[in-house]
C-alpha cells in the first residue's frame, strides 16, 4: 500500500507543473501536484459541506429519529409490561374462580349430606311415630278385648249361677217334689259355688 503510494508520488512529480493561474479554471487536471487528501485546495469546501450535511443529519437524528425509535421501544416495553400485568390479573381471576368453584362444590356436598341426614331423621321419626301409634292402637284393642273377655266371663259366670239355680230348682222339684223358692235355690247355689271356688 505504502509502496503504491510512493509509486504514485514518483509518477506525479515529474509531470508538467501546472501553470500558475490555471487553478481556478474549474477543471480537475491541474491539481495533481500533491497527494489529494493533503491538498488544501478543497479544505474549505469540504468543511463547509461537511458542516451543512452533518448538522442537518444531527438535527434529523435529534428531532426525528431518536424520538421516534425511543418512542417505539418505550411503547413496546409498556405493551409488554401491560400484557404481563393483564396475564397476571387473568391468572389471579382464574385462581379465584377455581377456589370459588371448590368452595361451592364443598358447600353443595355438605348441603346434600345435611339434606340426606334430615330426610333420614324425619323418616325415622315418622316411622317411630307410626309404630308407636300402631302399638298404642294394638294395646288399646288388646285391653278392650281383655275387658270384653272379662265382662263376658263374669256374665257367663253369673249365667252359670242362674242356670245352676234353675237346674237345681228343677232337680229338687222333680226329685223331692218340694217347692223351694227360687230365692232359696239361688242362695244355695251361690254358696256352693263360692265354696268351690
Amino acid at each position: 500500500m505504502a509502496e503504491a503510494f510512493r509509486i504514485q508520488l514518483a509518477q506525479a512529480e515529474p509531470g508538467p507543473a501546472p501553470a500558475p493561474g490555471s487553478e481556478t479554471a474549474g477543471t480537475v487536471e491541474p491539481e495533481h501536484k500533491s497527494f489529494p487528501p493533503f491538498d488544501a485546495t478543497h479544505f474549505a469546501s469540504q468543511l463547509f459541506w461537511l458542516a451543512v450535511t452533518f448538522l442537518f443529519f444531527y438535527w434529523l437524528i435529534t428531532k426525528v429519529v431518536v424520538p421516534r425509535i425511543s418512542g417505539i421501544l418505550a411503547a413496546r416495553r409498556e405493551r409488554i409490561s401491560a400484557d404481563i400485568a393483564e396475564a397476571e390479573r387473568a391468572k389471579e381471576a382464574t385462581e379465584k374462580a377455581a377456589a370459588a368453584y371448590e368452595k361451592q362444590l364443598a358447600d353443595a356436598r355438605a348441603g346434600a349430606f345435611r339434606i340426606a341426614e334430615e330426610a333420614r331423621g324425619q323418616a325415622k321419626a315418622e316411622a317411630d311415630a307410626t309404630r308407636a301409634r300402631i302399638e298404642g292402637d294394638l294395646n288399646r284393642k288388646l285391653a278392650e278385648a281383655e275387658a270384653r273377655i272379662g265382662d263376658i266371663k263374669s256374665k257367663a259366670l253369673a249365667d252359670v249361677g242362674a242356670i245352676a239355680g234353675e237346674a237345681a230348682e228343677a232337680v229338687v222339684k222333680s226329685l223331692a217334689d218340694v217347692n223351694v223358692s227360687t230365692q232359696e235355690v239361688g242362695d244355695a247355689v251361690h254358696a256352693a259355688l263360692n265354696e268351690r271356688r
Binding site: A12, V28, A44, Q46, F48, L50, T53, I61, T62
Partner: protein, 250 residues
C-alpha cells in the same frame, strides 16, 4: 492512465463551482457523497421506522438494533448521564458507517478517506468535551489532567503526559479512521488494477489474474468489516472522551 492510478479515487472534482468572498465552497464530488451519506442514513432510519410497529419487520428491526447498539455503547462508556450525548454519537456512528459503506462501491467517493473530514469530526467531539466540560465543571474540569494520589515530585511530569494524551486524542481519532479507509481503498485498487493489467496480456495473463481477482473479492469482504468496525471504534472512542466531560476526576 487514471483508471489504474490508485490515488485517483481520492481526487476531488468541482461539480458546481461556488465562490463566496474568495472562499471556494464548490459543490464537489466529496460534497455529493456527504449528501448521499445523509440521504442514505436518513432514509434507512426514517423509512424503516415509518410504520412504528410494535412487532418490527426486518428493516425496522435493523434500525432498532443499530439504535440500541449505539445506546448500549454510550451507556457502557459514559453511563446513564452520557445518554445526553447519545444523539451526537449516534449521528457520528451513522454518518461514518454510511460514508464508509458508500465508499465500497466501485467509482464511488469515500468521504471518510479525507483527512479534513475525519479531523473535523474528531474536533467536533473534542470541542464538545472541552466546552461541555468547562460549562459543567468550570475549573474543576482541569482535574482531568491532575490525577489524584500522585506524588508531588512527579506531578508536573504526569500532568504533561495527561495534557499530551488529551491533545493527541483528536489526532489519533481522525488519523485512525482516515488511514484505515485510505489504506484499504488503495489496496483494493492496486489488486483490482493487477486484474486489468494482467488481463490485457492475453491468455496467460487472464489465468494469472485469477489470484488478484480472488484477493480483491476477499479484500472487499475485509473492507466491509473494516468499514463497520471503524465506525464502531469512532463511536466508542467518542463516547469514552465524552465521559471525561461528565466525569473529569479519574
Amino acid at each position: 492512465m487514471a483508471a489504474e492510478d490508485p490515488i485517483h479515487q481520492f481526487h476531488i472534482e468541482r461539480l458546481v463551482p461556488i465562490h463566496i468572498g474568495g472562499l471556494d465552497i464548490s459543490f464537489t464530488n466529496a460534497a455529493l457523497f456527504m449528501v448521499l451519506t445523509v440521504l442514505g442514513a436518513g432514509a434507512f432510519l426514517l423509512l424503516s421506522t415509518g410504520s412504528r410497529r410494535v412487532v418490527p419487520g426486518r428493516w425496522q428491526s435493523a434500525a432498532e438494533l443499530t439504535y440500541e447498539f449505539v445506546a448500549k455503547t454510550v451507556r457502557d462508556s459514559a453511563g446513564e448521564e452520557g445518554m445526553r450525548f447519545f444523539p451526537f454519537v449516534f449521528a457520528l456512528f451513522m454518518f461514518v458507517l454510511v460514508a464508509n459503506l458508500w465508499g465500497l462501491f466501485p467509482y464511488f467517493f469515500t468521504v471518510t478517506a479525507q483527512i479534513i473530514v475525519t479531523a473535523a469530526l474528531s474536533l467536533a467531539v473534542i470541542l464538545t468535551v472541552l466546552i461541555y466540560g468547562l460549562w459543567r465543571h468550570k475549573l474543576h474540569f482541569f482535574h482531568l489532567f491532575v490525577p489524584s494520589g500522585v506524588p508531588k515530585a512527579i506531578l508536573p511530569f504526569v500532568v504533561l503526559i495527561e495534557v499530551l494524551s488529551f491533545v493527541s486524542r483528536p489526532i489519533s481519532l481522525s488519523i485512525r479512521l482516515f488511514a484505515n479507509m485510505l489504506a484499504g481503498h488503495i489496496t483494493l485498487k492496486v489488486f483490482a488494477g493487477f486484474v486489468t493489467m494482467l488481463g490485457s496480456l492475453g491468455a496467460v495473463g487472464i489465468v494469472g489474474a485469477i489470484l488478484p481477482l480472488a484477493a480483491t473479492v476477499g479484500l472487499t469482504a475485509l473492507e466491509l468489516l473494516v468499514a463497520a468496525l471503524q465506525a464502531y471504534v469512532f463511536a466508542v472512542l467518542a463516547s469514552l472522551y465524552l465521559n471525561d466531560a461528565l466525569h473529569p476526576g479519574h
